[in-house]
């Protein structure tokens, strides 16, 4: 097993990885920017090094600084967490060239699945259902207009290099198509450095269901079932759960197996999440693959009993997935609320600052993944997520009861957080019935 791993990330996921390393007997090296220098989670790592100023471009995203940190701290491997450099092909390649193990997929697999157009083509080859759409990139406006009509409005113009809800535009008719098309290409170029866009049918009010998969370097691939992440606001997930409340066992099996076919075709190694949309008739369509560990991984850990971060470390170390698919079971129901330092009363404006009163919930069925504590100052330079509240019970109804209790107990003051917004959502009748889709939050709140 690795003796030392560097964690190229911050906050709750850095702490999560430090914990997994600790239990596996791996020394952890944490990196931090000046904005994070007083973060107490750094003390749990075996070593912590300052890599730059608060600006993420000059610290957490600065490849030479990260590599330099790994070299001087003698780390054999780097875990990129999620966000930052986790899906940066250049970074993965540089790690390889510098003889540092990148805890994630091989460069080729990341490239293949990271490019939405290529991933879509691969999915088709693997017999994974995809949304009706363009065969590759669309460049000619007239041709694309014809295609949009053939697919049938509404359609979505998506950036090939986009993802995570960015670089997508919905178009409802020919008139708006013309203006949207040019703008979408320009935005794609500006945001991702790649102007390629493609077309997909837009499903009205879909559910977002994703499958957690894991593959080792010997070609074994396993799934850890699915998560329903339909509670979103502006394409950002707010609440995730497992299992998906509306799938029967047969549909579940089909969904999960198609995810496996895709990653096998991509010769993928390590953790990935394959995202699908479920339409009203429960047909599922592949939309994108995330070649990293995700924020909501704890939900899967609770229902399957598997530690996904440890699996990532083991797989990167060359160990095989020595379990069989039939031995991976899901039991019970888990729900996660992302707690952000944002003011729901003020259009979710960021609310950084010092937390002077912090009282986390506790008792049966509760797990909190967070790096914050009383006295912690939430910096303004980074993502606003400060904690993940995960509940786990035997049934979904019991999980919701525990979740409401937990949200009521949870005190984070005086900064504003999304705790009240989560409470409103989980108390909503439609949430209880799981009569939801990705437009639920924006329609009701």
């Amino acid at each position: 097993m690795f003796s030392r791993v560097l964690i190229a990330n911050r906050g709750e996921i850095a702490l999560r990885i430090i914990r997994a390393c600790r239990e596996l007997g791996i020394e952890s090296v944490a990196v931090y920017s000046e904005a994070d220098k007083d973060a107490s989670y750094l003390e749990f790592a075996d070593e912590a090094v300052c890599i730059g100023p608060a600006d993420p471009a000059k610290s957490y995203l600065d490849i030479p600084s990260i590599i330099s940190a790994a070299e001087i701290a003698d780390a054999e491997a780097i875990h990129p967490g999620y966000g930052f450099l986790a899906e940066n092909i250049n970074f993965a390649r540089i790690c390889q060239e510098c003889g540092i193990v990148f805890i994630g997929p091989p460069v080729e697999a990341m490239k293949l699945l990271g490019d939405k157009i290529q991933a879509r083509k691969l999915a088709q080859k693997a017999n994974v259902p995809v949304l009706p759409g363009s065969e590759g990139t669309i460049s000619n406006e007239a041709e694309s207009l014809k295609l949009a009509n053939k697919i049938g409005y509404p359609v979505m113009i998506k950036a090939a290099a986009g993802g995570g809800g960015r670089g997508m535009r919905v178009v409802h008719n020919d008139i708006s198509f013309r203006s949207a098309f040019g703008a979408a290409c320009a935005e794609a170029e500006a945001a991702f450095g790649d102007p390629r866009v493609y077309l997909e049918k837009f499903i009205v009010q879909p559910r977002h269901v994703e499958v957690q998969v894991m593959a080792d370097s010997r070609g074994n691939a396993l799934h850890f079932y699915e998560r329903d992440c339909s509670i979103q606001r502006r394409h950002q997930k707010m609440i995730e759960e497992s299992p998906c409340p509306v799938l029967n066992e047969r549909a579940r099996e089909e969904l999960c197996n198609s995810a496996l076919r895709l990653i096998k075709k991509a010769k993928y190694v390590n953790a990935a999440t394959i995202e699908f949309l479920l339409d009203r008739d429960k047909n599922f369509y592949f939309i994108e693959a995330n070649t990293r560990i995700q924020v909501e991984h704890p939900v899967t850990e609770m229902v399957t009993g598997h530690d996904l971060i440890k699996w990532q470390l083991k797989i990167a170390n060359g160990q095989p997935l020595e379990i069989s698919q039939r031995n991976i079971k899901h039991t019970g129901a888990a729900i996660e609320c992302r707690i952000n330092a944002e003011d729901p009363q003020n259009n979710f404006a960021p609310s950084p600052g010092t937390i002077t009163r912090y009282i986390p919930p506790g008792g049966p069925g509760i797990r909190i993944d967070t790096h914050v504590h009383q006295g912690y100052t939430v910096p303004s330079n980074y993502d606003s997520m400060i904690a993940k509240l995960i509940v786990y019970q035997k049934t979904r109804a019991e999980a919701i009861t525990t979740l409401k209790r937990a949200l009521a107990e949870f005190v984070i003051e005086p900064i504003k957080t999304t705790i009240p917004a989560c409470m409103d959502i989980v108390s909503h009748n439609s949430f209880a019935k799981s009569n939801i889709d990705t437009s639920f939050v924006e329609r009701n709140f």
């Binding site: 300052c50 730059g52 030479p64 330099s68 070299e71 001087i72 701290a73 540089i94």
Partner: protein, 161 residues
């Protein structure tokens, strides 16, 4: 009390010093900051003191400086012992010399100006020349050749001119 107030107090003190000692002209430089005070008399003495100034400003004797200095940041390196710290702007390995056989870039007692290369920090096989960004004499070298350094780590202490 803001930077403006502290600058104002310092200028007031300077004017008093000038008057008490019959100085005609005082110019103070610190890095890129400079202040020049002139009295309308023929004798001249120039004194240099380490003080945080703002942009170059000329003031006539006896006048209370009304020009509001835009708020200045204390140069981060200024410490109470009067020494200026040169900090690493990257994480990497510190090298005192351009190559194993050469002389070190600087030693204790070496004079530096803002453009003087004081060391090299290697990160990912790239040798980055680090400049002093300040003027003075090397008072202390805080790291050893081949040592790993973090962003913000103090490399040298400089006695300003």
């Amino acid at each position: 009390m803001g930077q403006k107030d502290s600058d104002f107090q310092k200028i007031k003190k300077l004017i008093k010093i000038m008057t008490d000692n019959e100085l005609v002209e005082v110019e103070i430089k610190h890095g890129d900051d400079k202040i020049l005070l002139k009295r309308a008399q023929p004798q001249q003495t120039v004194a240099a003191l380490p003080i945080v100034g703002q942009n170059t400003s000329s003031l006539s004797a006896g006048t209370v400086p009304v020009q509001s200095a835009p708020s200045a940041e204390q140069p981060a390196e200024q410490k109470d012992d009067g020494l200026v710290e040169i900090k690493s702007l990257m994480i990497g390995t510190y090298y005192a010399k351009p190559s194993p056989d050469s002389e070190p870039y600087v030693e204790v007692g070496s004079n530096v100006d803002p453009q003087t290369v004081v060391c090299v920090i290697e990160a990912m096989k790239v040798m980055n020349e680090i400049k002093a960004e300040t003027s003075g004499t090397i008072a202390e070298i805080c790291v050893t050749n081949g040592q790993a350094v973090e962003y913000g780590q103090v490399l040298f202490k400089v006695k300003p001119d």
